[in-house]
Amino acid sequence: MSCNTSVTRLCAPSVGQAQQVTVHLMPCEIEHNGPALVSQYLTATTKDNKQEKMVSFRGRGLKGQELSCPQGYSGLVLKEINKPGSDQEDRTVKVSSVFDKLTYWNLETPPNSDDTVVMAMDWPELAEAIHGPVED
C-alpha cells in the first residue's frame, strides 16, 4: 500500500518552454510510440471542405473536424522525465507541448455532435455544476 504515498509532480514552469503542437485523435489503435511522418502523409493530403476535413489514411477514408478546448482549459501533452527505478519513488512529468484545439477523425462517418469526444468537451461544464460551491 506504500505506493499510495508516492506522488507525481507536474513541473508547471515547463509550460513556458512548451511548443504549440498539432494533435490528431485517430480512429484506430496504432501499436507504436515514437516518431511518425504525420505532416508528410496526413496533413499534406488533408482536404478541407467547409467544416469537415477528409483524408485517406492507409486506404481508409477518414472524416474529421477541429475541436477547441473548452473555455478556461488548455491542452497539455505531459511527458515523464527521469523515470524512477521503483514505484515507491516520486515521479515527475513536464509539459512537453501544448495545444488549444485538436482534430479528431472518424472512420467514414461525418463528424457530428453525438461523437463521444465532442460530448467529452462538455465535461468541464458539467463538472463545474457537480463541484462548484453551493450557496448557504
Binding site: 508547471a12 484506430c28 510510440n33 488548455s74 497539455l76 453525438d114
Partner: protein
Amino acid sequence: MAAKKKRTPNVQNDSWVVVAADSVIDTQKHDSDPAFVRLRNPLTDAASLYMLGSGDVQLYEVKAFEEDFHSWFVGQTVQRDGRLIFVTPMDPLYLILPYLIKSGKEGKFQPVDQVVMDEEFPACSRLLSCTRSLTSLHHIAEEKEVGGLKFHRYSQERTMNWLKKKVERTVTALKKRNISVGEGVKSATFIRVKPDADSHEEDYLRYAHGLISEYISEDLSKALLKHLGLPELTSPKETEPPSKKRKLSDQPVEAEEDYTKFNSADFARKPPKKMTAAQKTLAKVDKTGMKPMSSFFSPKVKAEKK
C-alpha cells in the same frame, strides 16, 4: 486500457494527452508544483488519482475519456494511448465527507485535522489546505467553537441538503447543455415519446443523482434518492429514465447505466502484478483513478441517437 486479444501491451508509454483547467499551470501564485496524488475514492473506498494544485489550494479530479481503438498523433510522433485525460476542479468536501461520517459514529465534536487522517493515504490531510475545505465544512457538519478552536460533528441532515443543492445545480447544467446539444441531433425520425413535463423533470433528477452518486457512498446515494423524493427502483432496468430506453443498439445497457455497479466493478480493480514501474503507475492511473468519460455520456448518446 482494456487489453485486446493479440495486442501487445503498451509498455513504453510515457506521454499523456491532457485537457486541464488553466489554473493547474498558473505558476504565478505559488512556488510549489501541482502534483498527482492518490486519495481514497469515496464511492469505491479504493485508491483514485487526483491532483492537488500548486500550494494545495485546489483539488482536481482526473478523469480519462477513452474509446476503443484510438491513438494520437502528437506533432510528428504517434502515441498509442488514445485516451484524453481531463483535469477539472473538484469539491474537496466529497473526499472529506467519508472521514467525517466515520468519526461521526462516535457522536463527538472533534477537530477536523484529527478526523481527516489516513495511514493508507497520507496525502488526505492536504485536502484541508484547499481554500474551500474549511470554509464549507458547515455544509456537512455541525460546528462548535471553543476557545478559538473549531470542532465538527457530521450531520446527515446538512449533508442531505448540501447534496440536494448539488443535484439541483447539476440538473440546471444538464438542461442547459441539452438545449445547445439537442437541436443538432434532431433528425427526421426523431420522435419525442415523453411530452409529459413532470416525468421529464424526474429524468433529469435521476440522471443528476447518478452523476453525484459517483462521489458518495452507496448508502448516502440511497439516502439522497429518498431525500429527493424519488422512489428507489428495484431493477437496474427500471432505473433508466424513460428517455434512455429509446436506444438503438442492442447491447445490454444495465451494467453501463447503473452507475454504482459500473464503478465498483471497474475501478476497485487492482492493477495486475509483473509490470514495470512506469506501467504500474499508468495502470493505477487507468483503473483506480479515473472513470471513462463515456460512462457519463453514453446514456445520453443513446437517448439522442435516433
